[in-house]
Subunit: 211 residues, 2 copies
């Protein structure tokens, strides 16, 4: 798939089928993640590809209450959105609720981990310290999402499980010095899946020489 | 360009020509950044496209001492690398020194900013707080890098200027509640530019069900 077509149609897909992902497809989306740049080429991230039924159910059980707690605050934010944005945000919330109760069915949950001690830059004052660390892991996550799009797989970047990191680490045997920063359920879309996305115009996002 | 070809040949290009970027090309790389997903579709980032000669020189003057201070530590890390990695890291350092003294010449420096107060998730305990916030800005940065690759433009994700954020904010009139997290010089490559990249094999980066 052409790069801009993949990027411009990569939307969050939260209604995912249980159908398995062929091994060669899975191999390609995993490899795409590893191609991402990282500071000093240190690659201070790892991914755990969760496919085990028990592990997936355990992650869903941890995720669901945080999703339910997240919804009211986002509904509050929606009130200040333009009408069209409200409608699409409502559909996204409904799909999110679907995901929160079907996560155990998806064929794959990609859990991205990072280790601050092997990042090149970690000693900058808050709040930039670790946002900057994110520069050595989220490019890999974005590569992974784009690769899923390329393969016709639905996916969505979630972070709510960071609230239950201790338990997630326990379930997946993640060592003490590694942290989690993204949990991406992947599967074939129940409906059409990808398509148009809603973003602010370039003129609102980019300025020249002055903020 | 096909997605996987772009990803697998996106390497850091630090020797960049002063040649201008055609307006339509510039328009496409800026738009590609805006397509990226963000938490709750809040798009809590902005980019300042720095093209003004004075601003570029000012950023180079701030950058150079941090580059010079960064080199010895990285050279120390290199000692524990395999020989092939040492050689390519040496070439990267030399190219980095070129960049540190020619940054004022590049046609464009993209400065990515973010605002934690409009991010959906900011209240998770350190060190994950703001790494997770990075999930709403570095996907845009990665889209931008891939778009540059697609257009034959060289680029590299740098973060050293975060150490001089106060001065950068002053130069670019960045408001108090916005922070900087990536500075991407962009231009046509002096040499071939893109090509093979050196990454760990998938088996080292990805495991199944357990870390």
């Amino acid at each position: 798939m052409e790069l801009y077509e993949a990027m411009s149609t990569l939307r969050a897909v939260r209604r995912l089928k249980a159908d398995p992902i062929p091994e060669e497809v899975q191999g390609r989306i995993l490899q795409a993640a590893t191609w991402a740049p990282t500071g000093g080429n240190m690659q201070p991230w790892r991914m755990i590809a969760v496919t085990d039924a028990g592990n997936k159910q355990a992650l869903e059980d941890l995720y669901r209450p945080y999703w339910e707690a997240y919804v009211p605050g986002y509904e509050e934010k929606m009130k200040s959105m333009p009408e069209a944005a409200q409608a699409s945000s409502r559909r996204a919330l409904d799909a999110g609720t679907y995901l929160a109760t079907h996560m155990h069915e998806v064929p794959l949950i990609a859990v991205f981990c990072f280790n601050p001690s092997i990042m090149t830059i970690t000693d900058i004052d808050q709040p930039r310290t670790s946002v900057v660390g994110g520069g050595s892991v989220y490019p890999a996550v974005q590569n992974f999402l784009l690769a899923c799009r390329n393969e016709g797989l639905g996916c969505v970047l979630t972070t709510l499980l960071c609230y239950e990191e201790a338990k997630v680490k326990d379930i997946l045997s993640i060592p003490e010095d590694w942290y989690t920063c993204a949990h991406v359920p992947v599967g074939y879309p129940v409906l059409g899946g990808h398509g148009s996305i809603r973003r602010k115009p370039v003129e609102e996002m980019v300025s020249f020489n002055q903020f």
